[in-house]
Every structure is written in structure tokens, then in C-alpha cells.
Symmetry: C2
Subunit: 110 residues, 2 copies
């Protein structure tokens, strides 16, 4: 998977409110599918599908434990998106300051 595509997949994964709910459930630690679905308004297969999307995006890791499958937040996946936003923030700030400078130079007597 390309780096640009990875960002796209991660962003799309986090865009859905139900998936962000799932992420919130996993903030305190790994959980099996059933435990997640029990506290959510959607069916278990729906949760399973969401977990697939989140895993494909690299946001979750899966560790089969006997009968169950424990899902956990993958710090690396979150970090990738974090770095993208850091770069975007740097560019935005630089462009902002440049625009402010040009306006001060272009219109000195406002």
C-alpha cells in the first residue's frame, strides 16, 4: 500500500462515527468483538465489518486468543496520521505568515 493511500484509508476509517465509537471503546485496552458489540447500538456483524476497515487502515491490531479475537489500537497507525497532520499544520502556518507579510507589504497604509 502506498503512503498516500495509507493516509486515505486511515482518514476514511476514522470518518465514520460508529468506528470512532469503537476506537473510544478500545482506548482503555484490547477487547473481543462481542464485548464491543454488546455496548453499541448496532449488530455484531456491523461491528465486525467496522473492525475490518479499521484493521485494514492499520489502526487496529488483532490477536486471536483461543475462541475470541482481541482488537487493540495500533499506535503506529495513529502516528502515521499524526505526522500527516503535523506536516499540514507546518505548511498552513508558513502560508499564513507569508500571506500576512504580503498584505503588510502590499498595503502599507491601511
Amino acid at each position: 500500500m502506498d503512503h498516500k493511500d495509507a493516509i486515505a484509508a486511515t482518514m476514511t476509517a476514522l470518518a465514520d462515527p460508529t468506528r470512532r465509537d469503537i476506537i473510544d471503546r478500545l482506548r482503555s485496552g484490547p477487547l473481543p468483538v462481542g464485548a464491543i458489540a454488546k455496548t453499541m447500538p448496532v449488530s455484531r456483524p456491523a461491528v465486525s465489518q467496522h473492525l475490518r476497515v479499521l484493521s485494514d487502515a492499520g489502526l487496529l491490531s488483532v490477536t486471536p486468543s483461543g475462541n475470541r479475537r482481541l482488537y487493540a489500537i495500533a499506535p503506529d497507525g495513529v502516528d502515521a496520521l499524526r505526522r500527516y497532520l503535523d506536516a499540514l499544520w507546518d505548511d498552513a502556518l508558513a502560508a499564513f505568515q507569508r500571506a500576512a507579510q504580503e498584505q503588510a507589504k502590499g498595503k502599507p497604509d491601511d
Copy 2:
């Protein structure tokens, strides 16, 4: 707008590839609608609609300049999402280390 909703809107706004393309066009500085649309494979109204979504999410600022409207990346909007991911990353790391500790304690003779 609630803080949670703001994150949701920002995430949804950045989930679309065309909107991320627009953001990329604005990395070097503010641009009017027409200039953006000219370098993109979609029509100007489509760009206009995307700019609306991005603005509503707080990711862009608009400054009317005579006939045109200059769109620029809003550093504050990006920063809000950045902080959300930072918090998520912190929680993920803490949960990760806690899980590693519990496994080391629970299964000492693996």
C-alpha cells in the same frame, strides 16, 4: 458546535480525496475558487461545494476580495484534529504498555 461534533466534521471533511487535493493546492498559499477548479478534474460547482464542507469544518478561512473569494487553510482547525490524535496516541500507547505488562505478569513461564 460541540467539540466532539467539530472533530467529526473535520474528520469527515478530510476523508474525501478530492477535498484533500484541494487542501494540497492551498498548502503554498490562499487561492480563489476558479484557480483551484482550473487545476482539478471536477467542475467549479463541485469545488465550491467541497470548499463549503471544508469551511464548515473549520479547516479553511474565507476572505472576500472584491469579486473573488480567497480560501486559505486555517491552522486552528488543523490543530484541533491534531490534538485529538495526540490524545488518542497517548491512550493507545498507555493501553499497549499495560497489555504488555499484564501478559508478562499473567504468563511468566512462556
